[in-house]
């Protein structure tokens, strides 16, 4: 079970308090009624599915109930950082340093 840092509660809480909510940084067009079929498809249907860092939304459902954003590595399953909804995509180099787990043990001989 993952521990997820809620940027609103400012606490690490167990995964079962949270619900995944899809890709982050997809903004609903203000003039949605007028956009082209292609633009609508790009907004609503097409999603990235990268191997590596994803930006995704989570909701602290059984906590503060807020939606927030996270950068997670789909290979290691590690959260690089979490941040509030509406904030820009973080600089991942800096973020990784902030939130990476404590130093690992010694390497094998």
């Amino acid at each position: 079970m993952l521990l997820i840092h809620c940027p609103y509660c400012e606490e690490e809480r167990p995964e079962m308090e949270f619900r995944h909510a899809g890709e982050a940084h997809l903004e609903r067009p203000k003039n949605i009624a007028e956009i082209s079929d292609e633009a609508f498809a790009a907004y609503f249907f097409y999603r990235d599915n990268p191997k590596g860092v994803v930006f995704e939304r989570w909701r602290h459902l059984h906590g503060c109930a807020r939606f927030f954003n996270a950068a997670r590595d789909t290979v290691s399953d590690k959260f690089l950082t979490t941040y509030k909804a509406g904030q820009p995509k973080p600089d991942l180099v800096g973020a990784a340093n902030m939130n990476i787990p404590a130093k690992s043990g010694k390497s094998g001989k």
Partner: protein, 1000 residues
């Protein structure tokens, strides 16, 4: 000779002869000592044959003394419900009355019919399953599957439900130490003395690990095993330490989350009735110290699987710990020094060692010198190339590696060591990457992925002294890393002795499997031989993952703890590649088999998925309701009276509602209070309908779409004040609708001042529907004018009902005059009883969800999720009137204009009239235009709702049909196995088409 077995040697071992324990194996009575496992107690009585192998049914014995055991699996049976198959005899402690049985044999262990597989073994070589069971298809059903089912799996599952209970506990600590051998104990002492909160677990009954057999080691001047018991006692007495024996760390998950399974009562003769059988620990640790030790490997040579052939360390444990000699004439075959120590210990105990056969040409070291000094014949540069015997090994065939005459040496046991495999299982589970150490021929922890550290034998640290100092350092630094005010521990442990073993052999020994059909076993539990692995390579398997699956090497319940490296080495040799290039399969949880009971814990039966009851539930039970599950809710389905079946009850309820009145529990509908200055604006965006101009005190039926334009949910919304709405949702939709609204509010429209609160549990909702509804509720209502003029259909008023505050809705899901009485949930049952008492006297009935469904279908009202399937737009459902034509934005506005959604030929909701006037269509049945077309027919739609309508006197149905609105009056067909049912396309309203009754 001792009563606890004729192979028990007086004065040897640590068990107390004063504590005898009686048990049975295959019905025969045996006696062992407190502290024995089934394995040690059977060997003490001279029993080595304990099971038959999986594929070839070959006689098998006890190979190891621990959890890695692949062979000695037995059934342990307390009663019909407590019969556990595949228990490792090397782990299960004996208790008075223990009843163990051998597995995979018929009719008896010593004479087994299935052993014919052994003679027919060329038929069962690698890939046998894949090649043999290919075709024809029909053979699967009648030949292959029954055969596989009979042959597959070892042991018998219990025939009754498990009556025991299983506990579960979360735990947090600074330092979790996995493994309680010398390294784990030392690390735990150092971490605990530094002030860290420590959990130490070990899968065995007692701590000490290799100190159980390592007789020469002394720590702090004490014999090693005694030191371990003292260390465990010291730790147990500390407030900041929890030590768990009989507890296996089986899974290592993200962020140092580790699963431990504690076996609480499996070793007890008479467990307390309230004791859990097992306890699942879910531990979150600051740092994990892995001190899992190493596992000795067997030698791979022909017929290396006869009972009496075992690992050298096992023989040493049986001797030094249990006081049991594994034979009277014990042969040794080794590539490693540690087997010498076992031979010397046995020799000292008076056991004859006819020869040590060492595959190495010129092994050097004190162990070899000492063996020679004891007068043991040491044959270096030799190999054991076969064994004799049937149900027990009787001889070993020894040949010089350089060629020469074979010698047959009689033995009654044969011990072996191909070296030690560091247990990197937990490290690998933590997603760490192992690294190949070519000098010592082993995989060691390489790159770490989590905050953990490996120490001792599992880290490749061989010398006892080094293990101890490495452990103390790891314990201290773990405390420092996880604890703010860690102090320096004063732990110092003086070390003397302990093995310093070199030597290793991977793969098959000389003459191991060249050409001849011989069985040199790599994986004992799955009966995989060296030849099978070579065959797999020959047949094109070049990745170890493919070799593993083709041969099933390492895929049995022991997960190849002994076999993986041998298999890999043989594959690498056959491929002509280096071992690390061929790869190592990933270790996965669980480390050893873990019971479903432990994992499930209390979450079973009624606690698996708790049911939700409405406040009126008990009244409904008393009224004889039959309930159905709707999501997590128990909803009254129908209320049968004496002699009524469901059909009769529903017909009566349907008639009564339309003729008099009926009362229905609508509490489960989702309810959301939407409040704030922008509440109307917000709902205007969420629903397709216009909401800005809805007057206070008015209700509106609203449809909610997703952005793609498909119906997501529906419900009635009441405006309680300018800035306050009472929203209802479908029963199943309540949580997702709130999530959907919160999502838009928080992330797309965050500028809006709106607050959303789930109020589903706050209100009890009682629907009273029918011509007499008003008359029934009238005496209970205060502060609300109930007249049709003052309180028309689709209105809401606040007042009191039975003296309780109410939000009274004038609305209908039946087409009759109707009210929905919302009262605070705590008053729900009293109000329900009051209304029922009066209504009953006037001829009203209670009705359930089935009647509700029929009545709404008679009116063509849809149920989202039944008449829609996530691809239905409001227009498809005939609800285009509910889409605000002048709105410039709402969720779904763009999606509804997508080319496919405005194209002709969409499936549209229509009514179906069955031409014969009596057949009730099956919901989900497909619809075709021409019943005589060839199969597969073109299906143009399906039946979404279908009932017998007592009020119409005929069956009614709703269906989604391609271009349905254009097919009014046309004949279509519903093909069934026996005939095609003729139907006519109609409108969706079957009863009171003018709709006058609702305004009565």
């Amino acid at each position: 000779m001792s009563s606890a077995g004729e192979h028990r040697i007086a004065g040897v071992g640590r068990l107390t002869p004063a504590n005898p324990v009686r048990f049975t194996f295959d019905g025969k009575a045996y006696s062992g000592l407190q502290g024995d496992t089934i394995a040690s107690a059977l060997i003490a009585s001279g029993v080595h044959l304990v099971g038959r192998s999986f594929k070839y049914h070959r006689p098998r014995g006890i190979l190891s003394d621990g959890p890695e055991e692949p062979n000695a699996l037995v059934g342990v049976r307390r009663d019909a419900a407590r019969a556990t198959p595949n228990v490792r005899a090397t782990v299960q402690e004996i208790y008075d009355g223990l009843n163990a049985v051998s597995q995979n044999r018929w009719p008896s262990l010593s004479f087994d019919v299935g052993a014919v597989n052994d003679i027919a073994s060329p038929l069962f070589s690698a890939g046998f399953y894949y090649k043999t069971f290919m075709w024809p298809k029909v053979a699967w059903e009648h030949v292959y599957e029954p055969f596989i089912r009979n042959a597959a799996g070892l042991g018998q599952a219990p025939t009754e439900p498990d009556p025991d209970h299983y506990a579960a506990q979360y735990a947090h600590c600074d330092v979790l130490v996995i493994g309680g051998g010398v390294a784990g104990l030392s690390a735990a002492l150092a971490a605990a003395e530094s002030g860290a909160r420590v959990i130490l677990c070990d899968e065995r009954a007692a701590f000490g690990g290799a100190l159980r057999f390592e007789a020469e080691a002394r720590l702090d001047g004490k014999p090693g095993y005694d030191w371990a018991q003292d260390a465990a006692a010291t730790l147990a007495a500390m407030d900041n330490v929890r030590i768990l024996s009989r507890t296996t760390a089986f899974g290592y998950y993200a962020q140092n989350f580790v699963g431990l399974a504690e076996r609480v009562t499996e070793h007890l003769a008479a467990p307390a009735a309230d004791a859990p059988r097992e306890r699942l620990w879910q531990v979150r640790a600051g740092r994990v110290i892995i001190a899992a030790g190493a596992i000795e490997r067997h030698m791979v040579f022909a017929n290396n699987d006869r009972p009496g052939i075992m690992l050298a360390s096992a023989a040493r444990t049986f001797l030094n710990h249990h006081g049991v000699a594994v034979g009277r004439k014990v042969g040794v075959y080794t590539a490693n020094d540690s087997a010498y120590a076992a031979a010397i210990d046995l020799k000292k105990a008076g056991i004859d060692i006819p020869a040590i056969v060492d595959v190495r040409d010129n092994p050097q070291g004190s162990a070899i010198d000492e063996a020679r000094a004891f007068g043991i014949r040491v044959l270096t540069g030799h190999a054991v190339t076969g064994t004799g015997g049937k149900l027990r090994v009787a001889s070993m065939i020894v040949e010089p590696n350089k060629g020469g005459a074979a010698e047959i040496i009689p033995v009654d046991a044969l011990i072996m060591s191909a070296g030690w495999t560091p247990s990197v299982h937990m490290f690998s589970q933590s997603r760490g990457k192992v690294a190949w150490d070519a000098a010592t021929e082993r995989f060691l922890p390489g790159t770490y992925a989590q905050d953990c550290v490996s120490i001792g034998a599992c880290n490749g640290t061989d010398r006892l002294e080094e293990s101890v100092s490495e452990a103390i350092a790891a314990g201290e630094s773990a405390a420092k890393a996880t604890r703010k005010r860690a102090k320096k521990s004063k732990v110092k442990i003086a070390v003397e002795g302990g093995g310093d073993w070199t030597g290793s052999m991977l793969g098959a020994g000389p003459n191991g499997a060249n050409g001849k059909v011989i069985k040199a076993f790599v994986d004992f539990q799955n009966d995989v031989t060296a030849k099978d692995i070579r065959l797999a390579v020959q047949e094109g398997m070049h990745s170890i993952e493919h070799v593993k699956r083709f041969t099933t090497n390492g895929m049995a319940t022991d997960q190849g703890k002994l076999s993986n490296l041998h298999g890999l080495a043989i594959a690498a040799e056959a491929l002509g590649r280096e071992i690390p290039k061929v790869g190592l399969t990933t270790f996965r949880a669980p480390y050893t088999p873990t019971t479903f009971g432990a994992i499930v814990g209390h979450a079973r039966g009624e606690l698996f998925d708790p049911a939700r009851h409405t406040p009126m539930h008990e009244s409904e039970v008393a009224a004889g309701a039959v309930f159905e599950d709707v999501g997590p809710w128990k909803r009254a389905w129908y209320y049968p009276r004496a002699g009524e079946d469901m059909h009769a009850a529903v017909n009566r309820e349907c008639r009564t509602v339309r003729e008099v009145a009926g009362m229905f529990d609508a509490t489960t509908l989702g309810k959301i209070e939407v409040v704030g200055p922008d509440a109307a604006e917000f709902l205007n965006l969420i629903y397709t309908n216009p909401f800005l101009k809805l007057g206070v005190g008015r209700l509106r039926y609203g449809i909610m779409c997703r952005e793609d334009g498909f119906i997501y949910d529906d419900g009635v919304v009441g405006r309680m004040a300018e800035d306050r709405f009472h929203v209802t949702t479908t029963t199943g939709g309540a949580p997702r609708v709130l999530q959907h609204m919160e999502d838009y509010l928080q992330t797309e429209f965050p500028h809006m001042k709106v607050w959303l609160t789930s109020t589903t549990e706050q209100w009890a909702v009682i629907a009273v529907q029918g011509p007499k509804a008003r008359e029934i509720i009238e005496p209970f209502v205060e502060g609300i004018d109930l007249s049709n003029e003052a309180f028309p259909h689709m209105s809401v008023r606040e007042g009191t009902f039975c003296g309780v505050p109410t939000r009274l809705f004038r609305m209908s899901f039946t087409g009759e005059t109707g009210f929905e009485i919302n009262v605070p949930a705590d008053y729900g049952r009293q109000v329900w009883e009051k209304v029922y008492e009066r209504g009953k006297s006037m001829g009203m009935c209670l009705y359930g969800t089935e009647t509700m469904h029929v009545l709404r279908a008679e009116k063509g009202y849809i149920i989202v999720g039944q008449d829609t399937d996530g691809t239905v737009t409001p227009y498809d459902a005939g609800l285009g009137w509910a889409v605000g034509k002048n709105k410039t934005d709402f969720v779904g506005i763009r999606g509804l204009k997508r080319p496919d959604l405005v194209a002709d030929g969409r499936r549209q909701l229509v009514g179906l009239k069955v031409k014969d006037g009596k057949t009730v269509l099956e919901e989900g049945a497909q619809i075709v235009a021409d019943p005589n077309q060839p199969v597969p027919m073109k299906m143009i739609g399906w039946v979404s709702s279908s009932y017998w309508s007592e009020n119409c006197g005929r069956p009614i149905a709703l269906a989604l049909v391609e271009g349905g609105f254009e097919r009014m009056g046309r004949t279509l067909y519903v093909p069934m196995p026996d005939r095609a049912i003729e139907v006519e396309v109609t409108g969706t309203v079957f009863f009171d088409e003018e709709g006058g009754r609702i305004n009565g």
